[in-house]
Amino acid sequence: MKQTLDRSRRRHSGLVISKRRFVASVTVPLLLYEALGIFVLAWAFVLMFFDYSPGRLGGPILGLGGSNPFVGLGNFIEMFSGDSVQAGLFRASLRNTLIFAVAVLPLNLAITLPLAWLLESIGNRFKALYRTIYFLPVLTSSVGVALIWMSMYDPQAGWINAIIRAFGGTPVAWLSDPRAGFAGVSVAMWAVIIAYLWQDYGYNMVIFIAALQGVPQELREAALIDGANSWQAFTRITLPLIRPTMLFVCVMTMLSSFQVFDIIQVMTNGGPNNQTQVLMLDIYKSAFRYQNMGWAAAESFVLFLIVMGVTLFQMRVLRTDWEY
């Protein structure tokens, strides 16, 4: 009796040891990797207080100091009140990023929610086909999407101008005319917004379809029997039930449009007259074209604050929604 107790205790302690060994063998490399992560973050944080370019020799630690001088909050002060070309570009990019995000969100919802609802309401074997095709652009490389749309926007041989010509209108140099605008936003910006929406709407559609499938059919039918029409059933029953998804979709769409890069870099590279220069593109150019990495790090931090703000806002809104 005593012996078996001993044995089980021994086995038990052996198990604990092997468990600990396992945990240690996973956590130790993980901690090292995380240390690297913290180091990278710290470096990113320090960089934004320096006028740093990797081409210059600089000081002994990470090339900071010396010919890469400490500027304190100088980068941030310059961003918001300076008259240098970088500061001008930053402010233009910030404005363009906001325009882009603010335009994309309502347009995206205006396309995806009705289409998802319509698609969900037909419910037959065509549904899968429709959904597959709507989803194709999401699966496509954004560089490919940009090239396809560039060929459509071509001022001479592009299809969009061909249609305009066919109706007797004046063709437009969509991606290069800084003068043309619509609703206070340049046509180049509209052009990239449309290409971006085209690539992106399939994504939100499938999310909405999934949410609509989660709405109990009985509730809707009960409302219809009670004399509500389809529209009332949609606004009174369906919409409130998918509200968490709505909020989620809004925030995700906002976040990804704040960080848009690929399509714009390929299609316009920020032009014409910096009308499509967005923050990510400006950060990329500052850091890797002009090697102005301290400045770019400071710009990234501003973008990070915006993204963070949207995320926190989302959490608040979602929480109140849950409480309700």
Partner: protein
């Protein structure tokens, strides 16, 4: 659910057939098909343009159907010694497969550990992971680049994989799934004398098949289509991945839209077909995780 909606819609029209209802149906299909054509048309244009001669592709107004159906653009690409497409496919495949394998391994292992083991500092470590999830790549991009430069990994495909071996989101997701695993099952294996690694490999991993597949296909797609970071890290032509090579090809072939479209077809379409087959998992992954 799908069955439910299906039967409902089959039954309803029979119950109340009328012109109003028919018109409504018609309108629904009309709008959906309109959206469908808008989605499909750019793809059709791309494919048709790639079979035109360059002269025809530049013509104003453009033709819809190629007048002289030609394969010359494709032949030009296949015979272009500067564009060894297979090599670029290899580069993309290496990066995507390596990243997917490494993140699947680390995510499942670390997620399992967070779910099923108690150790001091666990909460702090996990909290740190959650924080990492919030930090966008543009913050870490610059120092990561400088580190790669110091390590001499610029222009190396390895430079593209070493920073992506651990994926905070994958760990988070795997932890959720591992928590549903019955602890008795693991303890039984322990009593039977299985080592902890054996338990992970033989018991935990097989249970995680479905979520791992979802995570894997999403990761593969993300890596395959990635553009910004590969463009920064891969500066030499021969090591580039497909999206980066496509923009390079476009910039060196301005004025030859048909060839560029052919290159786009060759780079975009094959993987698109593959993704179409996996679409169910991808959609599932998106709706489950909410992340692209």
């Amino acid at each position: 659910m799908a069955v439910n909606t299906l039967s409902a819609s089959v039954v309803q029209p029979r119950k109340s057939f009328g012109w109003g209802r028919f018109l409504g149906r018609f309108l629904i299909y009309f709008v959906l098909t309109l959206g469908l054509s808008f989605t499909l048309l750019p793809f059709v244009m791309m494919i048709l343009s790639s079979f035109k001669t360059n002269v025809e592709a530049l013509r104003v107004p453009p033709t819809f159907w190629p007048e002289n159906f030609t394969l010359e653009n494709y032949l030009k690409i296949f015979n272009d010694p500067q564009l060894p497409l297979l090599r670029f496919y290899g580069n993309s495949a290496f990066v995507a497969i390596f990243n997917v394998c490494s993140t699947l391994f680390t995510s499942s292992l670390i997620g399992y550990m967070f779910a099923k083991f108690e150790f001091p500092g666990k909460k702090i470590l996990f909290g740190w992971f959650l924080t990492l999830m919030m930090i966008p790549t543009q913050i870490t991009m610059i120092p990561s680049y400088l580190i790669l430069a110091k390590l001499g990994l610029i222009n190396s495909l390895w430079g593209l994989v070493i920073f992506s071996a651990v994926d905070a989101f994958g760990i988070f997701m795997m932890r959720q799934f591992c928590e549903t695993l019955p602890t008795e099952l693991l303890d039984a294996a322990r009593i039977d004398g299985a080592s902890e690694w054996q338990i992970y490999w033989r018991i935990v991993l097989p249970q995680l098949g479905a979520p791992l597949a979802t995570l894997g296909i999403l990761g593969f797609m993300g890596n395959w289509n990635a553009y910004l970071w590969p463009m920064i890290v891969l500066q030499k032509i021969e090591v580039r991945t497909l999206p980066v090579i496509l923009t390079w090809f476009n910039s060196t072939h301005t004025g030859q839209p048909a060839v560029v479209m052919a290159a786009t077809v060759l780079i975009v379409v094959p993987i698109l077909i593959v993704f179409m087959f996996f679409q169910r998992w991808i959609v599932q992954g998106f709706t489950m995780t909410g992340f692209k």
